[in-house]
Symmetry: C2
Subunit: 550 residues, 2 copies
């Protein structure tokens, strides 16, 4: 167990402290500290798992922040959900200026306006490659390639050493490596005496770089051209503006009109246009789709992860108001299968295939590339930046561990394997994890945030697996008894009538037996029912007994 961190006793230390994203993919939240000033880098969401039934979204547990420190600024590297998605939920608790570039700021504003939780949000729009002084930190936004525009690494200059926080990135890899301005830029940064590199581990198990996005664009054009008589629907991650551009280009070359379905796509698209991207692209009104021939149409839509309620889900189930698909239409999944979504996505593949729709996806066509660095690109990054300390973040623990191994192989002097909550002292001679803080996750349940050990989750798990057994017993002074049973998720009143009748009898007999021992009655009846139901059904439901005597 690590020592509990005492902020006041460590005011002079340059500190790195991840509260989310180090040990999981998602909900990135990193803290930096010097001389009593704290900044946050990224404030993202993650997705729930079976441990938190009834919830979809998780955000980092920020009890440490709320109880111990004041935040000077939230710096956002880019507008992906795992970097901005917690803002609507956590910003009202933190309330401090957000620093981000134009496009990212626009997305954040649109996002929070949908929730209505951050009416007085303060966003300072920054300009790439300029330097911003926030207390003891001087922060420069360094443009990097990623699957969304305006992803910026952070060059953080302090009196105790400089930090290069990579954010999510990949190399463009499409031209002569030597002439890549991104790489030469990084080489220059490497000359600025970098104490620590804090960097992306997502694709550390991929040995080689993904093919360049522009090759993908050309392939998409070819695919669209080859299906010259078919209706074409493309689904992708809404935030992948470069991909959207490739798709628009393919549509334009094939003289197809573009329709766009899905709220998140429109959010990104309008923000992109406001920020100067995707200029000159014309999106048609979806109501007009019925007036066009199949070969005149290209639809871009949300739903690439198999979500029932996204545009593609509605199209696939035939419930979309404006578009009907039929045999021989083509659907392109220009996206990856996010781990955990396989079953949902395969179900959609099956549904479409059975309807005679042709589908292309990463398993059978070159229709997606990742925006994260392969092992080789990570190695190149270290070669350019030459840090004294390597701190892998943005990954499951086993990704971070592998990234540590790679950094050690490269002889980076200090390699630190962090988990959420680890307090790291950054210094040249003995950088180390010297303390820990509370960390974990809140689940967004309806409109409230719950800690992940809230007992509603264990109760939901019991009910989802075993149902519930509710007994109501009314006993009057004439010893007349009325028993009612409800057992949703366990027994069916019609089908299981025999068993229910037996249980009624058992309960009645039991009540008469314990008639003068109320306290024991409830507990012992519960035991009896638990045993009976276990024996008959091999199930262990919640049991509620309500007894009223008069």
């Amino acid at each position: 167990m690590l020592n509990q961190f005492q902020p006041l006793e460590n005011k002079d230390k340059l500190i790195f402290l991840p509260l989310g994203g180090s040990g999981e993919i998602g909900m990135n939240l990193n803290l930096y500290h010097l001389n009593g000033s704290w900044i946050i880098v990224d404030l993202g969401l993650g997705f729930s798992d079976n441990e938190l039934p009834g919830t979809d979204i998780i955000v980092p547990n920020i009890n440490f922040i709320l109880q111990n420190i004041k935040i000077e600024a939230i710096i956002i590297t880019h507008a992906h959900e795992d970097h901005i998605g917690a803002i609507p939920f956590l910003w009202p608790e933190i309330k401090c200026p957000i620093y981000s570039t134009k496009f990212t700021s626009l997305i954040i504003k649109k996002k929070v306006s949908e929730y209505g939780t951050c009416s007085n949000l303060i966003i300072k729009e920054v300009i790439p490659e300029q330097s911003y002084k926030i207390k003891d930190f001087n922060i420069e936004f360094i443009p990097m390639h990623h699957s969304i525009p305006e992803m910026h690494a952070l060059f953080i200059k302090t009196s105790k050493g400089n930090i290069f926080h990579t954010g999510d990135w990949r190399f463009i890899n499409q031209e002569n490596i030597e002439s890549d301005s991104n790489r030469s830029n990084l080489r220059e940064i490497g000359k600025r005496n970098i104490l620590a590199l804090v960097g992306d581990s997502t694709n550390i198990f991929n040995p080689n770089p993904a093919r360049p996005e522009n090759e993908l664009g050309i392939n998409l054009e070819n695919v669209v051209a080859e299906h010259s008589t078919n209706l074409i629907v493309v689904t992708t991650f809404a935030s992948n503006v470069t991909r959207l551009e490739s798709i628009f280009t393919a549509a334009q070359k094939a003289k197809r009109k573009v329709f766009m379905l899905g709220r998140s796509l429109w959010r990104i698209f309008t923000a992109a246009q406001e920020a100067g991207y995707l200029q000159g692209v014309e999106i048609c009104n979806e109501k007009n789709i019925k007036n066009l021939k199949k070969h005149e149409i290209l639809v871009i839509c949300t739903g690439c992860q198999g979500e029932d309620l996204a545009a593609l889900g509605k199209i696939a189930s035939g419930s979309h108001p404006h578009i009907r698909i039929a045999k021989n239409d083509l659907i392109i999944f220009s996206s990856k299968v996010i781990p955990g979504n396989e079953k949902k996505i395969y179900k959609m593949y099956n549904q479409l295939t059975k309807a005679g729709i042709k589908i292309l996806h990463e398993h059978n066509e070159f229709v997606h590339v990742s925006g994260h660095p392969s092992r080789k690109e990570v190695q190149q990054m270290y070669d350019y930046i030459k840090p004294q300390i390597a701190i892998p973040v943005h990954g499951e623990s086993f990704h971070l561990f592998e990234h540590c191994r790679v950094a050690k192989e490269l002889k980076i002097p200090h390699v630190i394997n962090v988990s959420n909550g680890d307090v790291v002292s950054l210094n040249q001679h003995d950088p180390n994890i010297f303390a820990g803080v509370e960390n974990g996750r809140y689940a967004v349940d309806g409109c409230v945030l719950l800690e992940d050990d809230n007992k509603v989750f264990s109760q939901r798990k019991v009910m989802m697996n075993n149902g519930i057994f509710i007994v109501n017993i009314i006993l009057n002074s004439a010893r007349s008894i009325q028993i009612d049973i409800d057992s949703p998720g366990l027994l069916d009143k019609k089908e299981d009538d025999d068993l229910l009748q037996e249980l009624y009898k058992d309960i009645k007999k039991f009540v008469y037996e314990y008639i003068d021992r109320d306290k024991q009655l409830k507990n012992n009846l519960k035991k009896l029912l638990r045993k009976r139901i276990r024996k008959e059904l091999n199930k262990s439901p919640m049991i509620f007994i309500h007894l009223h005597k008069y």
Copy 2:
């Protein structure tokens, strides 16, 4: 919609009818028919998804069989769970002889004895390459390579044409292709006038064959040798006897004693030894593990899919009675990540990595190969067998569709894209799907089988997402009222006391208002509560109101 199949009107047809495994990975069940006689090929289980909370296992819905036809025999190709796992649940309904080879028969017997549901099971042990006459079918068991011993394709000879049912297979690929006896065997079968090939589609999206198992064995030996001072634990699919053999060999070469943990491993191991495999292998008593040094130990265990309760889960959580792992020990996942299990497995990778355990898995080392045919091997199979009809099975619908595409490219005269429940007439001139039958899945819920549309599942889904709200109202003739609320999975009596107090007041007021209108009271109160809870919490729980007046 297909016509409902009328067995009596189609007695003269040679029919293929899949009831499981065509449109999903798992629960394989295929029927063949001629002249009123029906046989089943394989009777496997599958795994539940989020649609069936509270259950783990699914088996095919066999209502069609039970209501319409008599089965003459169940032929089992091999002993994998997706081919035998439904026997303990469905055989008692079907009750007919099972035909399988020695090893497979032993596994089936051990399996059903664990359930105790098939006391009078009849298994006819068959000998490979011999021919068995069952009514109008002559069946020959053709040895194939797969990730379990004694996998047999079926050569089914009938007066209306011959069928080659591949089962699960791959080519061994380790020697000169021309001298591979399996391939020459298949070439001979191809000369026997094959009407239909019914075959495995699992890996149809993998363009090239997996590396041979013997290369994997050599790599395992190297890995074990390289970790000469570490404790080594290997987890794999229990049924992969060839893999077990490779692991035993690696242990033997490194002079390590072998310990084996996990019930399914012992079931397979003892069956394998009884059937003549894994001879001379010595497994040590796990209680003695504490007397050995780390470098003297190799543990084989279950739990490669991240199951909490399997041996590896217990080892990882420190709750195994005989084995403790510590920093620098090595755990090898000699297995694949089955789609849907990613989150569970990654959680285990994380848990182990955080404890300083080194892990090797398919992402960072050559420790697993598949037992299914790549596209190239499927193409070679068609080249050898030269069927008139290709019917892809054993896959999700999108796998079957891709397999159809491959078969069409090869100019197989008739390619039929089937789904569970499709009744296919097999004949040279116009093979076609001419009718359909009831199909789907039963879920194994505790100790009963439920159809997948049973309403306990929808009730469980509501409760897992929203909890339940139970109100008990007792009103006596003096108009004194007692209200009790239970709300598991929704509200906490302490934390949500304010809201609960408000709801008590609302309910009380409402009851007095409706005091003489019992019928309306319950319904209207339900509506009120639904609205209030939705507004306050954005949740929609089940609501039960129990009212008693006296």
